[in-house]
């Protein structure tokens, strides 16, 4: 390293001592006369975020945004997946939380709201920006909104258009009703393909299946909460019909044989590779999968069997950002969120990640891929619903939502038995968490609007 490259080395020892002495003197005087006026310093914001793991390019976007932002000095820190919630809650409890925190949807941030760790954003951010960011109904509690939307995760069903063509199906009009789905599966099967499924070994397929199927029995998102708090019962055929339908698909031989031993993403890859006709996926995969197949991956809403008002609606989950209750600069933090929602930053988000920001202010004309454009038109720009599994208590998610799906796929549980298991686990959750039951009872008011 040359001296020119390291100016610190050019400072002589005497000069260094003089500077140090002067600095110490300034500090000593400063302590006598009190702090310097606050306006002389740029506010400093700590931002803990997550997402590079699922959306490569996000880090570059954050770095660029932080570098360009002049109203405050933002210090971002990428969190590990396993500690996104616990790290924040521990810091918040200790009184040293970041100013800005990445927040998953629903219960994944609502517990922090109930613990008093998050600040309502209404009043801090402009109402227009907050609403345009699409925080979803699951971010509301007690009439306040605690999250700004950041980027969406449309929950889609994939189908392989080439396989549809070979099976004599119309690839431009995927099935929309349950009988149409069964007919499509039958034709795919006759054509020698495995019709439907994916990989359920790690459990996420079972969760996504509930997102698509369970919601078809509901009139409002709040109705799901009523099942957890005991006002309604999973033993009611209406509320375990989703698993009965899954059982039907298995009995008819429509699910891929290696589904129980495959994980989620290898299962989705089967559809992309032309080895499986229909499967569940997430919209953020579509740009890459569409490119890999020359646009031969179609996206559709799960065909309708249920009679609930939410049946047949596209589902969009949303990742978000919030502000800590103990942030020293909540106004500055809110201003940074406003900045991230400017059209220029939204476009930069798309350029850096190849994926869409959640704000309706994003100019969707920028989307190049026709499949992605169509999907965003149908999911993001049409009436949609939120992901109902994001409001499930963790205990229900782990001990009912996932095991039921896995066991129905294997034929170890019937749909009705899955309902019994779900009812039992919901009851256990109430016994283990009497305090959370009260919180959920209040949350229903926001969720049923």
């Amino acid at each position: 390293m040359t001296d020119k490259a390291n100016p610190a080395q050019q400072i002589g020892r005497r000069k260094f001592l003089q500077t140090t002495a002067a600095g110490a003197g300034t500090l000593a005087l400063g302590s006598l006369f009190g702090p310097l006026p606050a306006q002389a310093k740029n506010p400093e914001l700590n931002m803990w975020w997550w997402g590079e793991q699922e959306l490569p390019g996000l880090q570059a976007y954050i770095n660029e945004s932080v570098a360009k932002y002049t109203a405050a000095t933002v210090k971002p820190m990428l969190q590990e997946t396993a500690v996104v919630i616990s790290q924040f809650q521990t810091a918040a409890a200790a009184g040293t939380p970041p100013d800005l925190q990445y927040l998953w949807n629903g219960i994944y941030h609502m517990e922090s709201v109930w613990l008093g760790y998050l600040k309502p954003l209404n009043g801090l951010m402009s109402e227009d920006t907050l609403r345009a960011s699409n925080p979803t109904i699951l971010s509301n509690y007690g009439g306040n909104t605690y999250r700004a939307g950041w980027y969406p995760l449309p929950m889609v069903w994939y189908y392989n258009k080439d396989m549809f063509d070979k099976a004599g199906l119309n690839a431009d009009t995927p099935p929309t009703t349950w009988p149409e789905l069964l007919d499509a599966c039958e034709k795919l099967k006759i054509a020698g393909f495995e019709p439907l499924g994916g990989g359920v070994q790690d459990g996420y397929w079972a969760e996504w299946y509930m997102s698509h199927a369970f919601v078809q029995s509901l009139d409002t998102v709040g109705e799901a909460v009523e099942l957890f708090i005991g006002d309604k019962d999973f033993n009611d055929p209406r509320y375990h019909e989703c698993w009965v339908r899954l059982e039907e698909l298995r009995k008819l031989g429509y699910l891929n044989k290696d589904m129980p031993s495959l994980e989620l993403y290898p299962g989705i890859d089967l559809v992309v590779a032309g080895k499986l006709g229909i499967g569940q996926s997430v919209g953020s995969r579509l740009p890459a999968d569409s490119k890999a197949t020359n646009g031969r991956i179609g996206s559709m809403v799960m065909p309708v069997f249920g009679k609930g008002k939410l049946a047949g609606k596209p589902i969009v989950d949303m990742q978000g950002l919030g502000i800590s209750e103990k942030s020293a600069n909540p106004e500055a933090a809110a201003a940074f969120l406003e900045y991230l929602n400017t059209p220029e930053r939204l476009e930069a988000f798309y350029k850096a990640t190849g994926w869409l920001p959640s704000s309706s202010r994003f100019n969707s004309d920028l989307i190049q891929d026709a499949s992605v454009k169509n999907m965003w038109k149908a999911w993001g720009q049409s009436p949609n619903i939120t992901n109902v599994t994001s409001l499930m208590p963790g205990q229900f998610y782990e001990q009912a939502a996932i095991p039921t799906g896995q066991q129905v796929v294997q034929g170890k549980l019937t749909g009705e038995q899955a309902g019994e298991l779900a009812a039992r686990v919901a009851k256990e959750w109430r016994e283990f968490n009497p305090d959370l039951v009260e919180k959920y009872q209040k949350w229903v008011i926001d969720l049923s609007k």
Binding site: A82, S86, Q89, T90, A92, A93, A94, E111, W114, L115, Y117, V200, Q201, D202, G203, K257, D258, M259, P260, S261, L262, E263, P393, G394, Q395, Y397, E398, Q399, I402, P403, Q406, Q407, Q410, K412, E428, E431, F432, N433, D435
Partner: protein
């Protein structure tokens, strides 16, 4: 022994005990404390024995315990395999040192690495079933990691394969320390390989076998997390077929927001492990006495 002599070992131990108390002491006390609280965030109200009552009344907890107990069935297989292999190596077959290294290799590899590879191998359309089909043994093809009936046994296979390696090394070390004159005498008396092993070698290995069994029991009851986490899709699945108490604790702590419940199970597991450790010390003391 004078009183100052009696104190000497404790003085030597004191720095390490102080260090342990510093590192684990606070967390240890907090775990006990949390087990009597409904913890939200980092603290919560005192609820007495409620966490213990809830856990002990939950079928999932007992299912987890049952799976830990079922894993104990692996121990006879591990002892048998390790014993056989160590006796074969003791015969100093040509290239036995290379075999020894190969046999110990699984134990050096990290469990997640082994488990990821095994998971690929045991998929329904994976190499294991493909080989079985190729050998026209279709009836033996199973959904090794996808079936609730089979998954725990597949995990057990992996545990047996890896943990037997430790047994081989322990047993071989003991064998190599034996007085060879005895074995030579048995050989001159006309004892065959089996008779030498059964009547001469194995009786002298009793203490190390007991030690290995106790260590393995502790492993099966409180140190199989990495195996089930990796093989069971991170959730003790499929369904709850590979759920064990450690994973139950992990889930309660990180996924279901129940640190109090996690602490209650941790305390129970600690007590069981403590009792087993006591047994281990008794076994070791007896082994030391025998060797002396």
């Amino acid at each position: 022994m004078t009183s100052s002599n009696k104190l000497t070992p404790y003085i030597y131990l004191a720095p390490m005990l102080a260090l342990l108390a510093f590192v684990f002491g606070f967390s240890f006390i907090r775990v006990f404390e949390f087990s009597f609280k409904m913890v939200r965030g980092i603290d919560g109200p005192w609820i007495g024995l409620r966490n213990y009552q809830l856990v002990l009344s939950q079928p999932l907890f007992w299912e987890s315990v049952k799976h830990n107990l079922l894993l104990l069935l692996a121990i006879p297989a591990m002892v048998g395999i390790a014993l056989l292999l160590s006796l074969l190596l003791y015969d100093r077959l040509r290239g036995w040192k290379i075999y020894r290294t190969i046999l110990f290799f699984p134990y050096i590899l990290a469990i997640p690495i082994i488990a990821v590879v095994m998971k690929q191998m045991f998929q329904f359309s994976g190499p294991v079933n493909e080989v079985l089909r190729w050998l026209s043994l279709d009836f033996m093809t199973l959904d090794w990691i996808g079936s609730t009936d089979v998954a725990l046994w597949t995990v057990m296979l992996l545990i047996i394969w890896r943990e037997s390696a430790l047994g081989v090394i322990l047993f071989l070390s003991r064998l190599l320390s034996l007085d060879e004159a005895l074995i030579e005498a048995a050989r001159l008396d006309g004892a065959n390989w089996w008779q030498r092993a059964w009547y001469v070698l194995i009786p002298q290995m009793r203490s190390v076998i007991e030690f290995y069994v106790v260590i393995s029991v502790i492993t099966m009851l409180s140190a199989v997390f990495a195996y089930v986490y990796m093989m069971g899709g991170g959730r003790g699945g499929p369904g709850t077929s590979t759920m064990v108490t450690e994973l139950y604790i992990y889930n309660a702590l990180t996924r279901t927001s129940l640190p109090g419940v996690a602490s209650a199970v941790a305390v129970m597991l600690f007590v069981v492990s403590l009792m087993l450790t006591y047994v281990l010390f008794v076994v070791r003391r007896r082994a030391d006495e025998e060797e002396a």
